[in-house]
Amino acid sequence: MSTSRVRLVDESDRGGRTTATLLGSLGGRLAALHVITGADAVGALLAGFAALGRDVGRTAEGARLREALAAGRPGANAERLWEALMLDRWTSALPPSPVLDLLRNDLALLLADDVDETLDLPPVPPEPSGAAAGREPQPTTATDVVIGLWAFARELAAGVEALAGPTLPATERVLVGPSSPATTGPLLR
């Protein structure tokens, strides 16, 4: 078996991924929602899904999906609608939101063991994105967005299942007595 070894490290020249910086990023995003338009927020998300779709389209699985979509009516209709409604002009002019990083950072916050301590500290101001590579507006297509949404949904579902996994009750179980949800529900009071 051929084996390689890699390390996952923080970006250079950045604060790195800590509970405080992830919390600052989340708070900054929530605060930014009050100063930008809904169209810009949704457009940046769509541009982010398109960027993710382009990234996933490089893999064998993503390329297969892209080929299948492009060969059938759904792909053709999606591109036609995308252009007719000028979604391409709208989303291609916006910096793509790093949707996968944001999801992973938010899930990592749920697993952090120092959330209480971090919340008690003065809030860390979020670091501005700056002119980071990959944030330049790129042309978007409907197929890119569809594949990006597919990849994001898979990652979200897998993430939630992984979070619940360690404490997930058995599929089949019978609870009898005061702790049973059936006897404590509002309908039987």
């Binding site: 078996m1 051929s2 070894r5 890699v6 996952l8 600052g24 490089r58 893999t59 992973r104 979020p126």
Partner: protein, 187 residues
């Protein structure tokens, strides 16, 4: 005197000036909007990310016969201070003969959280289809979300006639080795 809004000789200069003005104003407003959106992107809160740092030559290499399965392995160590997620995926593999192979690969685990200072071993099973032309296939193992790069993958596909050492059959322990040495020791 006849007045018309159509193209006429004599009125073309003024109409052209108006058209130029309209185009200029449209272009100016588009550029201003684009600039403001870029500025908005620059000031947007940064999402702390992850960078993959290979140790030494991270090329994943192996050899396989058509119809057999090859296993590649990557040890991933999380040097960050919070959990991170790894989802491996393989790009299409292209041979030096011009053949493109869209492999059927399954990763174990396909999704997983890696705790700080934890090391997880990812395995990727690649099934070579029957009838796959022999050759040296190159591609990438992508760790999705960690930038455009990935780990180089080099697979030698050889038929029973051309292979010196037998490749593994499905269900058996996979054999892999450096480039050009089918069935040799792993890197």
């Amino acid at each position: 005197m006849r007045i018309s809004n159509g193209d006429q000789l004599g009125g073309g200069g003024f109409a052209e000036l108006l058209q130029l003005q309209a185009e200029f104003q449209t272009r100016l407003s588009e550029e201003v909007l684009r600039y403001l959106r870029r500025l908005q992107g620059v000031l947007e809160p940064h999402a702390p990310g992850t960078v993959v740092q290979p140790e030494g030559d991270a090329t994943l290499a192996g050899s396989v016969r058509p119809g057999a399965t090859l296993t590649l392995s990557v040890e991933v160590e999380n040097r960050q201070r919070v959990h991170t997620v790894v989802t491996p995926a393989l790009t299409p593999l292209v041979a030096n003969t011009g053949v493109a192979w869209f492999p059927s690969a399954s990763a174990t685990p396909s999704y997983g959280f890696i705790a700080p200072e934890e090391t997880v071993s990812l395995t990727l099973s690649v099934a070579a289809p029957d009838g796959l032309p022999p050759g040296q296939y190159r591609g990438m193992l992508v760790l999705r979300g960690f930038g455009a790069g990935g780990l180089p993958v080099v697979l030698d596909v050889s038929t029973a006639d051309s292979a010196e050492a037998p490749a593994e059959q499905p269900g058996e322990e996979p054999a892999a080795g450096p480039v050009g040495t089918p069935g040799g020791p792993a890197r």
